[in-house]
C-alpha cells in the first residue's frame, strides 16, 4: 500500500520563485477587483449603507497581515536600515512627520465637516472649525503617534534581536 506513503516533495527553487511572483501578482489582481467592487457599491448604494465591510476587511486585513509578518520576520526593520543608509531624512523622523500630517489632515477634515454641517453663520463656522480641529488634533495625534511609533519601536526591537 504505497498509496498513502508520504513521499518527499521535490522543490525547484526557480519554480518556487516564479510561483511566488504569480502569488504576488494574484494579490494585486484581488486588490484591483476589491477596489472596483468597493467603488461600484459606493456608486450604487452610497457611502453610509454599510455594504463595504467585506471589501474593507479584505483590504485592511491583507495590509495588517503583511505589516505584522514583515515586522516579526525582521524584514520591516531591514528596509528601514536600507532606507536610512541612502536617505538624508531618517525613517524615524519621517514616521513622526507623516503621523503629524495625517493627524492634521483628519483634524481639518473633521473641522470642515462640522463647520459645513452644523454652523449657522460664517463666524460660527470658523469657531466650529477651530474648536473641532483643535480637539481632533488633541485626540488623534497621541493615538496615531502611539500606533505608528509603537510599530516603529516594535520593529526596531525585533530587528535588533534578529541581527
Amino acid at each position: 500500500m504505497n498509496l498513502f506513503k508520504r513521499t518527499k516533495k521535490i522543490t525547484d527553487e526557480r519554480i518556487e520563485n516564479v510561483r511566488n511572483r504569480i502569488y504576488k501578482e494574484m494579490y494585486y489582481v484581488i486588490l484591483v477587483i476589491c477596489l472596483a467592487s468597493a467603488l461600484f457599491k459606493l456608486y450604487k448604494y452610497g457611502a453610509g449603507s454599510g455594504e463595504l465591510y467585506l471589501e474593507f476587511a479584505i483590504l485592511v486585513g491583507g495590509g495588517l497581515y503583511y505589516l505584522a509578518r514583515s515586522i516579526f520576520l525582521g524584514v520591516f526593520w531591514d528596509e528601514v536600515e536600507m532606507h536610512d543608509r541612502n536617505s538624508k531624512t531618517p525613517m524615524s523622523k519621517k514616521t513622526v512627520l507623516g503621523t503629524v500630517a495625517l493627524a492634521l489632515i483628519i483634524a481639518i477634515f473633521m473641522g470642515v465637516n462640522s463647520a459645513v454641517s452644523y454652523a449657522d453663520g460664517s463666524s460660527q463656522g470658523v469657531w466650529y472649525f477651530v474648536l473641532v480641529s483643535f480637539v481632533s488634533v488633541m485626540i488623534y495625534l497621541p493615538i496615531l503617534l502611539l500606533f505608528f511609533g509603537g510599530i516603529y519601536l516594535l520593529a526596531k526591537k525585533i530587528g535588533m534581536k534578529n541581527s
Partner: protein, 65 residues
C-alpha cells in the same frame, strides 16, 4: 551570459540536462536556463551542481573579466 563552463562540465561527465536535474533535485528547464544564463541559481543550488559534477564553484560559476 551563457554558462559554457557548466555545459562543458556536464557533457564531460556524460550527463544529460535531465540526469543532472534529477541528481540535483530540480527540473530540466532550470538546468537549461542556468546554462543559457537566463536564471541566477541560489548558492545552495550552485553547490549542489558543483558536487554533482565534481567541480568547484570557481570552476563553474566564476566569470573571468
Amino acid at each position: 551570459m551563457k554558462n559554457i563552463k557548466l555545459k562543458l562540465a556536464r557533457v564531460e561527465k556524460d550527463l544529460s540536462q535531465e540526469e543532472l536535474a534529477k541528481i540535483v533535485g530540480v527540473s530540466r528547464q532550470t538546468i537549461g536556463l542556468i546554462e543559457s544564463g537566463k536564471y541566477n541559481p541560489s548558492l545552495s543550488l550552485c553547490v549542489g551542481i558543483c558536487k554533482a559534477l565534481s567541480r568547484t564553484l570557481d570552476d563553474l560559476f566564476w566569470e573571468e573579466d
